[in-house]
């Protein structure tokens, strides 16, 4: 099936098996390995990307459903060589340890901030409730988002 879509502002039109998972398209076909796979069933959130302004688990999206959609991955956060404020805040707050959950955390919280620029702590916690982290105990991640949400 020929599918047209945009990833990080770039237009693509590709012939793909339509049940291919979005995560496999991103990682294997487009080489965007910033999007990680931790469970393959929408429980860990490491594969989170933003599709038409909302966070989705890219491991659960068949590419037949990205027709005409705009997808943003962690590689698309930076603009003109400058980190997004959220990326910078993650670094400053020590929210990055092993870093494997980081892309998913960034995309889940970016989606939150796009919809709600001033979330409170509970809203931040809910926004990352589907993103697991074994390193940080979440607190530095929550602080990083709070810093940007001020």
């Amino acid at each position: 099936m020929v599918i047209s879509f945009r990833v990080n502002g770039e237009e693509y039109s590709m012939d793909l098996p339509p049940a291919t998972r979005l995560i496999d398209l991103l990682r294997n076909n487009l080489g965007l390995t910033g999007t990680k796979e931790g469970c393959g069933e929408g429980e860990c959130g490491t594969c989170t990307v933003i599709m038409d302004n909302v966070a989705v688990n890219s491991c659960l999206v068949p590419v037949s459903q990205i027709r005409g959609k705009e997808i943003m991955t962690v590689e698309g956060l930076e603009k003109n060589g400058e980190l997004d404020a959220l990326q910078d805040s993650f670094i400053r707050n020590g929210a990055v340890q092993c870093g494997f959950c980081t892309p998913g955390m960034l995309m889940a919280t970016k989606a939150l901030l796009m919809e709600n620029p001033h979330p409170d702590e509970d809203e931040i916690r809910v926004a990352i409730s589907g993103n697991l982290c074994r390193c940080t105990g979440y607190s530095s991640i929550i602080n990083a988002v709070k810093d940007v949400a001020k």
Partner: protein
């Protein structure tokens, strides 16, 4: 003023070294690796827990387009190995597994693997392999394995090892002693690193094997691979790939031998990346244990004797279980002054997922039962649990009964006293838990851990520091960054010693071909041993720089001092040479290279300590628990990178709460893993994570760099017992069957209700 009071880099917070690359998604993790011409492996794991393989039919699987080769016990050597061994001829490492088994011993045992040109083809082919099993009754608990010993999981029998260790002299019978007995069961737990295990191996035409592994110790992997595959060590190159977390789960060479063998056999790169189900079932778990503790305590609260008996479930293969079980016996004497301590333990095979080292290395498995026991003693004595602990905790300078070495500047009493003040323990402990649906209680627990392996194992590290022409440095070490900020800590230590900005120092990671020797990232040894090695190596480099400066400036060394990358002459007219000038002139004019290789060997192993304080709210309607306050206090000697120390503590607490309340790999009577997915194996997520306050006791006094001690493991030890003690305090129970699920809490409440009548 002490040196540590005017530090420029050490003691200040820095991000992990590659945080910038990580937020951009550009770090190529083990699971992201791709080599030219690479093949993909997919495992066929046993669906049953115990049985002999009587037939493997690959005729349909072979026909799948893209399949290159199918491996099983039929076409691989039956040479046995231990995945845990890290040095040649290591004792306590039974060689009880082979690449592919002909007899499956747990659900998840390695039966076959397909190597194909695409992951899809490999998966498809695996689903088409037909295996015939002759089932044997699975033995899924330790007691079952001991009782039904005629069913042998391994030819050697089901009992792997027994020990009976005694420290101190058995006391005379004391009349006014209170005897208390408790039994605590700890469960199998998944390490749950966010990245599953991944490996890429290549074998070139020159006969060299290279493997990029998500491992915690490259030299351990090398000795296993080289000896197993009969390749000389110089022809095995193990490179530690960027890792998305480990927590001990990547400490052993679980799948490296397999991937290396397949690459060597096919002479092509082979990549294996596990999925979550495979990681839960087929890698390693925190060992399940059951410990019965009998203590005698004087009526004024002094421990007289402790007698412990542990059943240790090793799972289907021995791996690290013998050492892990021994480690358990040595924890309590590091924490409490116990005049007579006896610990008996049986390490036993079962037909369940394989046990292995997990953050805390025996600490959570034994100190959780012990700290639950201490609360039981306090109840029996009607004594405040903190008062009881204060009477028995070790003091600075105490000798560790188990090893005969000093515990160093052991500041657990400080931790407990400071924490109790901050937490307002006295006021909260006695307060009424409430009589409504929600009951509140508080709990405390203490923990001791170690700093490296000195006393039980060789303990040294080697590093090379090379000065570049521009005055910067390459610190060449065998380090394994697993998300703890190790590389940053080492950089801070070197920067402090050399007095140059942190970004002038590059620290390299483990690669057997380029790194000096080091054991790896475990045993709470990295900061204490590797950090001190970095400090000493940097100090030697600094000496060398001063020597070179002395020659160039024609001034005796004692008239020179260095500051900020520049060497000055004392009382001179600010005459100076920059590091750049020194390095360049030495290299280009004086035939001198500024480079030092140094081996540091540890000579001490002080205790690392912590005390956690928890307030828990129990919903007596549903049995669920909410943590409403949490304080972690740790004796770290000195925090090299305080932000990351805090990160380690918070991550440990996340794991500890999971251990206490949620996480358990459940195995059915048939030996099937019931919850092999994050859908039903729950980690603590953000909404359930309490705010954790952290206090550090930085009293220094030991041999680590800038007097620092370990933190990454010890901080998970007191977490679970503190939570459990808080729950028991809230609802007046003495629960000790972990984890405390809502079901167990409700059952206990119902029992209490019935007993009240």
């Amino acid at each position: 003023m002490k040196l540590v009071d005017k530090l420029k880099y050490v003691g200040h917070t820095y991000p992990v070294h590659d945080a910038y690359q990580k937020v951009r998604g550009e770090v190529v993790y083990a699971s992201d690796m791709k080599l030219r011409n690479m093949l993909y492996a997919k495992l066929l794991l046993s669906p049953i827990a115990h049985g002999n393989i009587t037939g493997i039919d690959i005729s349909d699987a072979e026909k799948v387009p893209g399949v290159v080769k199918i491996f099983s016990h039929l076409n691989t050597p039956d040479r046995r190995f231990s995945r845990y061994r890290i040095i040649p001829d290591q004792s306590g490492c039974p060689e009880d597994e082979r690449l592919f088994t002909d007899k499956v011993r747990f659900q998840g045992d390695r039966v076959a693997a397909v190597v194909a040109r695409s992951p899809e083809a490999a998966s498809k082919a695996v689903s088409l392999i037909r295996v015939k099993y002759e089932e044997i009754k699975p033995l899924v608990t330790v007691s079952q394995a001991l009782e039904e010993s005629h069913i042998k999981i391994h030819d050697s029998g089901n009992l792997i090892q027994e020990y009976d260790l005694m420290f101190g002299d058995e006391p005379d019978h004391t009349d006014n002693a209170v005897a208390t007995g408790t039994t605590t069961a700890t469960q199998k737990m998944h390490h749950a690193a966010m990245e599953n295990h991944a490996y890429t191996a290549d074998y070139d035409s020159g006969g060299k094997l290279t493997i990029w592994s998500s491992c915690q110790g490259v030299y351990g992997v090398r000795t296993i691979l080289a000896d197993l595959l009969d390749i000389s060590y110089n022809n095995v190159r193990v490179i530690k790939a960027p890792i998305g977390g480990s927590f001990g789960g990547k400490q052993e060479a679980i799948f490296e031998p397999l991937v290396a063998f397949m690459a060597k056999d096919l002479r092509r790169p082979v990549h294996l990346a596990l999925d979550r189900e495979e990681a839960i079932v087929a890698t390693m778990t925190r060992p399940a244990t059951e410990t019965t503790i009998k203590s005698r305590v004087s009526d004024d609260g002094r421990i007289l004797s402790c007698d412990l008996m542990t059943l240790f479930d090793a799972g289907a293969y021995a791996t690290s279980s013998i050492d892990n079980a021994y480690a358990m016996a040595k924890k309590v004497p590091r924490l409490y002054r116990v005049p007579y301590y006896r610990h008996r333990c049986s390490v036993v095979y079962t037909n369940t997922p394989v046990a292995g080292g997990t953050r805390g290395w025996g600490g959570p498995e034994i100190l959780t039962p012990f700290e639950i026991h201490m609360d039981a003693v306090a109840r029996d004595l009607r004594m405040d649990p903190i008062e009881l602990r204060l009477k028995n905790l070790v003091h600075p300078g105490d000798i560790d009964k188990a090893t005969g070495f000093s515990l160093g500047n052991a500041r657990i009493i400080d931790c407990l006293e400071k924490g109790a003040m901050e937490f307002r323990w006295k006021e909260r402990y006695g307060s009424f838990p409430g009589s409504g649906r929600y009951r509140r209680g508080v709990g405390v627990a203490c923990a001791a851990h170690k700093n490296g392996m000195y006393g039980g194992f060789p303990e040294h590290s080697t590093m090379t520091i090379k000065m570049n022409e521009d005055g910067g440095f390459i610190l060449n070490a065998c380090l394994h960054e697993v998300g703890c900020g190790t590389l940053t800590s080492i950089r801070l230590i070197a920067a402090e010693m050399l007095d140059v900005p942190v970004d002038m120092i590059t620290v390299s990671e483990a690669d057997t071909e380029n790194s000096p020797y080091d054991f790896g990232s475990y045993g709470s040894r990295v900061t204490y041993i590797c950090g001190e090695c970095a400090k000493r190596t940097a100090s030697l480099v600094k000496d060398k720089i001063m020597n070179c400066a002395s020659v160039i400036m024609r001034t005796p060394k004692q008239y020179l001092y260095a500051e900020n990358g520049t060497v000055f002459r004392i009382n001179g007219e600010r005459e100076s040479l920059t590091y750049r000038e020194i390095a360049t002139i030495s290299k280009t004019q004086n035939n001198t290279d500024i480079v030092v290789t140094h081996t540091y060997h540890g000579t001490s192993n002080p205790g690392a300590y912590g005390a956690h304080f928890v307030e828990a709210e129990v919903d007596t309607g549903t049995g669920t628990v909410r943590l409403t306050d949490y304080l972690a206090v740790h004796d770290v000697g000195k925090a090299i990178n305080p932000g990351m120390v805090e990160g380690q503590i918070l991550g440990c607490v996340q794991m500890g709460i999971g251990y206490a309340l949620y996480e358990e790999i459940k195995v059915s009577e048939r030996g099937r893993v019931i919850n092999n997915s994050f859908k039903n194996y729950h980690l603590v997520n953000a909404p359930d994570m309490p705010d954790v306050r952290v206090m550090l006791v930085e009293a220094g006094g030991d041999d680590g760099p800038f007097e620092a001690k370990s933190i990454g493991e010890v901080a998970t030890v007191p977490s679970a017992p503190a939570v459990i003690n808080a729950v028991n305090n809230a609802i007046g129970t003495s629960l000790s069957d972990m984890p405390l699920t809502p079901e167990k809490i409700m059952a206990a409440l119902c029992r209490a209700e019935t007993e009240k009548g």
